[in-house]
């Protein structure tokens, strides 16, 4: 493996393998992602897309191989520093992971509160991202009272609120109708335009591809089987 090619890479995977007990969910995956890239991870259900994202923010640890995030080796991160690593990521979870007892506002604010931001800053920032995602009118509602698409947008708002270097989105349009999916993608795209690095895992790629320039990575049975550049289409 040529180490020089990935000099500027913000995410580097070296022969990463992940077993959940039996057969590998990821098998020998090596990958470099440059800052500011928009990466699509596609492949059939069970291919290891979610697992690939999970090992990046250490929701799962790898069975073999190494991962570097901005030069930091994840295998050497102490539990005390793990929260600081996670604050560099904005995560959009497949199941949203919103706290049902907190309002939309508080859910988004949480991402800033954990980083110790000032309340006045938090208020401004949260209202800003809620405006961007079109959720400011529902700021004081509880997540269970919202539709799937709305919850998804709240999840995206929380992911971008902390101005993370990297956004990891797992099936961010999975449960959405065409219009909502497009809306979510536009938000991610806007973030990408500001220079953010974005990884999106999805099994219906076509819908996404039409939107943006980027790289497409295909996983199958835990193996990386192709990596191609996507040409831009008009929105």
């Amino acid at each position: 493996m040529n180490l020089d090619t990935g000099k500027n890479a913000i995410i580097r995977l070296f022969n990463v393998t992940k077993h959940y007990g039996g057969k590998p969910a990821l098998h020998n995956v090596s990958l470099d992602i440059e800052p500011g890239e928009f990466v699509f991870i596609s492949g059939p259900s069970g291919a290891g897309k979610s697992t690939l994202l999970k090992v990046l923010y250490l929701a799962e640890t790898v069975s073999a191989g190494q991962i570097l995030i901005d030069g930091m080796n994840l295998s050497r991160i102490s539990p005390a520093r793990l929260p600081f690593l996670r604050r560099r990521f904005g995560m959009v979870f497949q199941d949203f992971k919103l706290i049902p007892t907190l309002t939309v506002f508080d859910n988004v604010a949480l991402a800033l509160e954990v980083a110790g931001k000032k309340p006045s800053f938090i208020r401004k920032k949260v209202m800003h991202v809620l405006r961007v995602t079109g959720m400011e009118k529902k700021a004081h509602m509880l997540p269970p009272t919202l539709s799937g698409g709305e919850q998804q947008r709240v999840a995206v708002a929380r992911a971008v609120a902390g101005d993370p270097d990297i956004i990891l989105a797992d099936e961010p349009t999975g449960s959405l109708d065409q219009a909502s999916a497009r809306r979510v993608l536009e938000i991610l795209l806007a973030y990408h335009k500001k220079g953010g690095t974005i990884l999106v895992a999805s099994h219906h790629l076509q819908q996404l591809q039409t939107v943006v320039t980027g790289r497409s990575i295909v996983l199958e049975k835990g193996r990386l089987i192709s990596a191609t550049r996507l040409e831009p289409y008009a929105l």
Binding site: P83, R86, E113, P119
Partner: protein, 291 residues
């Protein structure tokens, strides 16, 4: 900090039932403890009042002669707590007795020899309670020239022994109550924590430190302890007013009993203990839950 406080209040609201149970438990145990304290403080003070005099008679052996008096007097004066000493010769004692008995009997006039011993009348400091007094008395009794020491209400000493035992039992029970309150607090924290497992997991995923996760629990514990303590003291105070106003109206003229509510220092102490209890229950539970 203020933010944690609001978070804690929201937590309490969303787990109303469990938090209520904890607070009631803490306040009940604080009620028991402060009731014990109130009872013993007052009983102790009343008993000390009975012994306020601190007067004692030191009867001397027959071999004592008046030349020995200065030496013995200074030996006794030097003892801790002896504030006043007066020599009462056997003649004066007899005169006093005759005076007291005047008219009631001629018996004393028939005596050929004075049967009374020489004695010292002393006063002992009593403000430090009964124990030091008893100690001085024992010390004086051990002197060679002293036959015996007779001091106010010797039975009081025996009662005080009983009182000590009683008080010890009371305090052991208080400790038990506090322990129960502590365990209930600790297990409520555990229950609340488990009911929030998924919430805590989400917080971790978005980059919360353990400190951030624990803080609202600690603040909740402090609030529960503080509120529980105040509640317990308030209940006691209300009960005290109700009971005491009844008693003092019916018996106030018969006995003068100096009953007071807990001192500010004692209430402060109880409140601090109660607040600490809430915090410590949290601390131990969380230490176990978040390693």
């Amino acid at each position: 900090m203020i933010r944690y406080f609001y978070k804690a209040l929201a937590d309490i609201r969303s787990n109303r039932f469990l938090n209520l149970i904890t607070m009631v438990t803490i306040s009940l145990s604080i009620l028991m403890v402060s009731l014990c304290l109130l009872f013993f403080e007052n009983l102790g003070r009343i008993m000390d009042g009975w012994n306020q005099e601190g007067r004692a008679m030191v009867y001397l052996v027959p071999e004592f002669s008046t030349e020995m008096r200065p030496e013995l007097a200074s030996a006794i004066t030097q003892m801790d707590g002896v504030v006043q000493i007066t020599f009462v010769s056997k003649d004066r004692a007899l005169a006093r007795l005759k005076n007291q008995m005047a008219g009631s009997t001629r018996f004393l006039d028939t005596l050929e020899e004075n049967p009374l011993p020489h004695a010292f009348e002393i006063r002992i400091q009593t403000q430090n309670g009964f124990e030091p007094v008893a100690a001085v008395v024992r010390q004086i009794e051990s002197l060679d020239l002293v036959e015996s020491v007779e001091y106010g209400q010797k039975w009081l000493a025996r009662m005080l022994d009983l009182f000590q035992l009683f008080r010890l039992t009371g305090y052991v029970m208080c400790a038990l109550f506090l322990l129960i309150a502590f365990f209930i607090t600790a297990s409520t924290v555990r229950l609340v924590f488990h009911s929030r497992q998924s919430e805590v997991e989400i917080m971790r995923l978005v980059g919360a430190t353990d400190r951030f996760i624990k803080m609202p629990f600690y603040v909740t514990g402090l609030i529960q302890g503080a509120v529980g303590g105040i509640l317990g003291l308030l209940i006691l105070f209300a009960a005290y007013l109700a009971v005491w106003s009844g008693i003092s109206q019916s018996m106030g003229d018969l006995f003068h009993l100096d009953v007071r509510f807990l001192s500010v220092a004692a209430m402060g102490g109880i409140w601090v203990v109660s607040t600490f209890l809430g915090w410590f229950g949290c601390y131990l539970s969380l230490r176990q839950l978040l390693k």
